[in-house]
Symmetry: C2
Subunit: 211 residues, 2 copies
DNA sequence: AATTGGATATACAATATGTATAATCAATAC
DNA sequence: GTATTGATTATACATATTGTATATCCAATT
């Protein structure tokens, strides 16, 4: 416990800048070969122009750095638009919008691919990502419930929700992404999500025409 | 170069048994927590009752062991049934059959989950798995082509193929698997694949009723 | 001028993959 | 029976990585 302590000013901004430089270096490294294989704190530190010890000083551990990188990427990914999408009166239009938002999100920074792989080496980081994905599932559950109202069985709703959850996941986007623009992937997934919803309703499954 | 060499008999079967014991130990370890995180050659060797050096003797490297484990699991996974499924005269029935075969395959050994994660730490092992997955894509391409004949645009066929490829992948199965029996996942995916095919055909998209 | 706090330098521990060399020991050949 | 072969083991070493500990440097602040 220090006798006299002092705060902010030049000191705080300097450390904040260091922190951002490390996060940027980590993201750059993940973007480089889209793999977590060569992601070591040593390389990240050199890339950021600091010592490995500084990385531990700022993030505590490898996992801490990965989470910081993810949060930084997520903050710029446009997910804040989800709120207004969910506020749309037409739940089907809202679903289309949500699909589009996530397509944009997965596409906006290639480093996301490397982060998704990190689940393998660090199970606890994996659970952190799973928790964030569960929010998406809640959104989808709400929308499907609104679309089907009470015309579908619980089990059918669950099926539709899980299918749409899979269709809007990163692995699915990554599988469809090569050889397609983000917009093309988006349209493809929107159509597939419509089919998933229609399949859960016993009546009039051919209700919607494209465009 | 040995002056006099000799082959087989007790020697060959003994080494073969050692090899199988190591593979079984590796699979058991992957099955244990369904993660590649704690998969080290040291632990595998102890589990198999041999030295770590023996593992290197038999498989050359960590990757070699992983590939051997995968091949061993694949050999018992029922994929040989794909041949007769593809020989079915009705391509839609064949597609249903292929979906069912892969559902059974992904479900038959939990160690597959750990192996899929290994892509992250070892990119070259990843390319080996990708190559094996591409065979599945070829099967699907053939079936969708037969189903749509020439009534669908190339692009629409490509969309259906890629969607079905995703729907029959391990990540999709793993996402739907908790809280569902293998048969339930299978039916769900078959329905989704039907929708993907129907969406690629401009005419009469409501041709099939379930059962 | 003294102190604070972030960054650095240096060292150490633990775990992992991979390589090298000699030794063990049962199975086989002469 | 004796020598040889080949898989396995024992031991050692090199390298990379995560994580911890301690003392030091230096600019910013009191």
């Amino acid at each position: 416990m220090p006798k006299r302590s002092y705060v902010s000013s030049v000191r705080a901004s300097a450390t904040a800048e260091t922190r951002e430089r490390i996060i940027a270096a980590g993201a750059r490294l993940l973007r480089k070969d889209a793999s977590i294989a060569n992601f070591s704190l040593d390389v990240v530190a050199k890339e950021a122009g600091v010592t490995r010890l500084t990385v531990y000083n700022q993030f505590g551990s490898r996992r801490g750095l990965l989470e910081a990188v993810f949060d930084d990427i997520a903050r710029q990914g446009g997910l804040f638009e989800l709120a207004e999408a969910m506020a749309l009166p037409d739940p089907r239009a809202a679903l289309d919008r949500v699909v589009a938002i996530f397509c944009t999100f997965w596409a906006h920074d290639p480093a996301i691919g490397g982060l998704n792989q990190a689940i393998a080496t660090d199970p606890e980081f994996g659970t952190a990502l799973v928790a964030r994905n569960e929010r998406r599932r809640e959104l989808v559950t709400g929308l499907v419930t609104r679309i089907t109202e009470s015309r579908a069985a619980k089990r059918a709703v669950q099926d539709a929700v899980d299918l749409i959850f899979v269709l809007t996941s990163y692995p699915t986007f990554a599988a469809l992404s090569p050889r397609r623009s983000t917009e093309e992937v988006c349209r493809l997934l929107q159509t597939a999500c419509h089919a998933a919803v229609d399949a859960s309703m016993p009546d009039a499954p051919a209700g919607r025409k494209k465009k």
